[in-house]
Symmetry: C2
DNA sequence: AAAAGTAATTATGAATTCAATATTCCTTTG
DNA sequence: CAAAGGAATATTGAATTCATAATTACTTTT
């Protein structure tokens, strides 16, 4: 059932440019020079330009006619909009998961959940986040909706580079854990409406938005004055 | 506030290929010949291939390495998945719209609603659908979430070509109209939770899926046997 | 010296060319 | 006569080339 991954050069290049953006080697608002990237990757302009077009449709860069491309500058509103959307998608994933998930899968998620609680008790932030993500991904996978998963991963991609801000107040954290307790209960009862509701309201997302205000691109970084 | 629409050649070509797919001039599973389309549009292969890459990202075609491209074959599950997702997005659009919508905008939608009822009373199916769509689009626009709107229109694009099936049983139709009455009421009260719920459950979508079974691409049309 | 205008340079947009892979058609063999 | 093998053809993948628009550097003028 493993998908045949087609390795076109353009896709390879697009992924690597995506990495550069994610890791901050290409900065928001920064002009992307074709020649520079061609030299860097050792490819000609043809596949590189194809990659840029794809990245533009994926929402990571924007194309300025006759003036090249630049990394999309994420505004606070933009990120907030994206999180709202992702919350809705998570809600749907929960509803659908309840319909399709197997006992074994639930058991797997229960295990992740318990592991996460352990990390919470030890206040191990990074492992907590990692398992947390695995839980959400497991539910998404159990949703049995390919289109949903595709969309979610696209949105996730877009905001990856600002998602590192992992500050977490005790108050928010304990609430997030409570949410997860409720999620787990709803999932084990296969209560699709309830799980959907919890996931839509799960404030994990809102927390991040709240803590993001300082991280988001300001208006005056690498941008060139445009007419 | 009107966006400067960039008119790259590749984007133009992508749109026109999209039209060909929508109108059934390129059939699902059909092999897309680059040369043929180049001649048709009078462009070279460079912008055409860029267009194909973009269309693949948008989910309208699929690229087979070294074997060209072909129109995505929509399965019933695929369409169902897409509708589920769109319903979730509509729900979100309703929730958000309640927060941001102005009295004037509500009045506008009320007017559309009354017009739609008139078409329903006269059993004018096409005008009914048209105004119906306008209502949903107005709510979406009032959501004030650009990312949401972008995603929705992409999904909409994908299934456009099977969305023509406009059969409608009396029973379903009257239920859809009732849904709309409730929507209108929720919107005028700005009850975001309620409107969200109604839109998620609005069976307009499910109707179409139900009537689609016969329209969807079968497994044996234009496809070439692949190893 | 600052601003405006113009030439030179550079970067992008698109077509063409070259290389590699797949497909077709024909021949050969069991 | 069917199936397998191989040459010829066509198609795709990627680099190069040509054309056009934008940017920069320089000159001129006030």
């Amino acid at each position: 059932m493993t998908k045949i991954l087609q390795r076109n050069l353009y896709r390879e290049v697009a992924d690597r440019i995506g990495d550069l953006i994610e890791h901050g080697e290409l900065l928001p608002g920064e002009r992307i020079s074709e020649k520079q990237l061609c030299d860097r990757f050792g490819v000609s302009r043809t596949p590189l330009r194809e990659a840029l077009k794809v990245l533009a449709t994926e929402g990571l860069i924007e194309l300025l006619p006759n003036r090249g491309a630049r990394v999309v500058r994420l505004t606070l509103k933009n990120v907030k909009d994206t999180y709202d959307l992702m919350a809705a998608l998570e809600g749907l994933s929960g509803e659908l998961a309840c319909q399709y998930i197997s006992d074994a899968e639930i058991a797997g998620i229960r295990h992740l959940h318990d592991t996460m609680l352990e990390h919470y008790r030890n206040r191990d932030l990074m492992p907590y986040f990692q398992v947390n993500r695995q839980i959400h991904e497991s539910i998404l996978a159990a949703s049995n909706n390919d289109v949903l998963q595709e969309m979610y991963s696209n949105l996730s991609q877009r905001i990856k580079r600002v998602r590192y801000s992992k500050k977490m107040t005790e108050r928010y954290w304990s609430q997030a854990v409570k949410d997860h307790e409720n999620m787990m209960a709803a999932l084990e009862k296969r209560d699709s409406q309830l799980l959907g509701q919890i996931l839509r309201d799960h404030l994990c997302n809102k927390i991040e938005v709240a803590t993001l205000a300082g991280v988001i691109d300001t208006e005056d970084d690498k941008s060139v004055a445009n007419s």
